[in-house]
């Protein structure tokens, strides 16, 4: 076979013989193989621990983002009722970014679950192989003379070496995917650090970074829509507004007061009885 299978077989054989060349006599080959298998099992366990850590971290980020979404939504409502459309828009833009990130994180957590399952399968597979090999190596040692044993042992060790290389490959692929997910999780952390999901009332001017502005561009129609909806709800006297925070000055605009669309309208408090 000259194609993919041929190339792959050559690579695997080279790896396996490199692994087995390190030991010389039959007993040593067996013990060396066994020792390598146990090491491989430790690596798989470490891989599982890494995936679990990455998953927990993503879940923590999810919690933080969910809180941000709720907070930004509340702030947007407050800003609308205070007639501060610019502030409401900023809050909604951030909420939009946070929601997009949240969806991404959700997918990543699912992917990590899959990787964890793959690694756990690898671990069980490897453990079964190691147990089978441990039993077999004692049988081989007991049954054969040195000359015969050499042949039997190299056959068994080749098969086991191949299995080890394969579990190693499965593990490497799972870990590589985990690394990618960690990198994406880091990207979310950076957005958080850049203040993307922060309290809008704490925002000074000119704090936007380029990433956020680009995301805002793509989220604009959604923001417009949501802003219009919020204004509609307020006009209908519907919305459950949470206790107002420090939006604008010290406004606690009532829902009945139709919010002015003017960008820098005064806080609506002077309309209050």
């Amino acid at each position: 076979m000259a194609g993919l299978t041929g190339r792959m077989s050559t690579v695997v054989k080279a790896k396996v013989s490199k692994l087995l060349d390190r030991a010389e006599d039959p007993a040593e080959t067996l013990d060396y193989s066994y020792q390598k298998q146990v090491e491989q099992l430790q690596n798989v366990k470490k891989g599982i621990a890494d995936v679990v850590t990455a998953k927990k971290r993503l879940q923590m980020q999810e919690t933080t983002l969910k809180q941000s979404v709720v907070k930004l939504d509340t702030q947007a409502r407050q800003a609308v009722s205070a007639g501060q459309e610019d502030l409401a828009r900023t809050a909604l833009e951030r909420k939009n970014v946070a929601q997009t990130e949240l969806q991404g994180l959700d997918t990543q957590v699912t992917e990590l679950e899959e990787q964890q399952q793959k690694l756990t399968d690898s671990e069980q597979k490897l453990r079964a192989k190691i147990e089978a090999f441990r039993t077999k190596k004692e049988v081989i040692k007991a049954q054969y003379s040195a000359a015969e044993a050499q042949v039997k042992i190299s056959e068994a060790a080749t098969g086991v070496g191949e299995q080890m290389a394969d579990v190693g490959l499965a593990m490497q692929r799972a870990v590589d995917k985990t690394e990618n997910m960690k990198a994406r999780a880091d990207a979310v952390s950076e957005l958080e650090a850049a203040g993307t999901f922060d309290d809008v009332t704490a925002l000074g001017s000119g704090e936007d970074d380029i990433d956020r502005q680009l995301k805002q561009l793509s989220s604009q129609p959604a923001v417009d829509e949501e802003l219009a909806k919020m204004k509609g709800e307020l006009e209908a006297g519907a919305p459950p507004t949470a206790p107002a925070a420090q939006i604008g000055e010290h406004s606690q605009a009532p829902a009945e007061e139709p919010a002015s669309a003017a960008a820098d309208a005064q806080p609506a408090e002077d309309g209050q009885a």
Partner: protein
Amino acid sequence: MIVRVSTEGQYELGDDLRGRLNELDDACQVAVEAGDDPRFKGCYGQLLELIRGEGKELGDDDLRGSDLTLPPPDITLEEAQSEFSGHGLIPD
């Protein structure tokens, strides 16, 4: 003939399937060289189906080495083009 699907397991196949495997393998190779992803996915999928369908899966206590090794089922075209010809795919 024993065939390993990397990251999946080993299958025992009749030698009469060798010709069919060879054809599909060559077709995959051509698709990889042409950088044709849909065609590569298609014929690699057929190759895997043939092995899983016609082969008998080997148990954990079977310590025989494989005659052939196939790349992992989720291999990408990019990996097929570059990595596993060298030293990328199988770790030391």
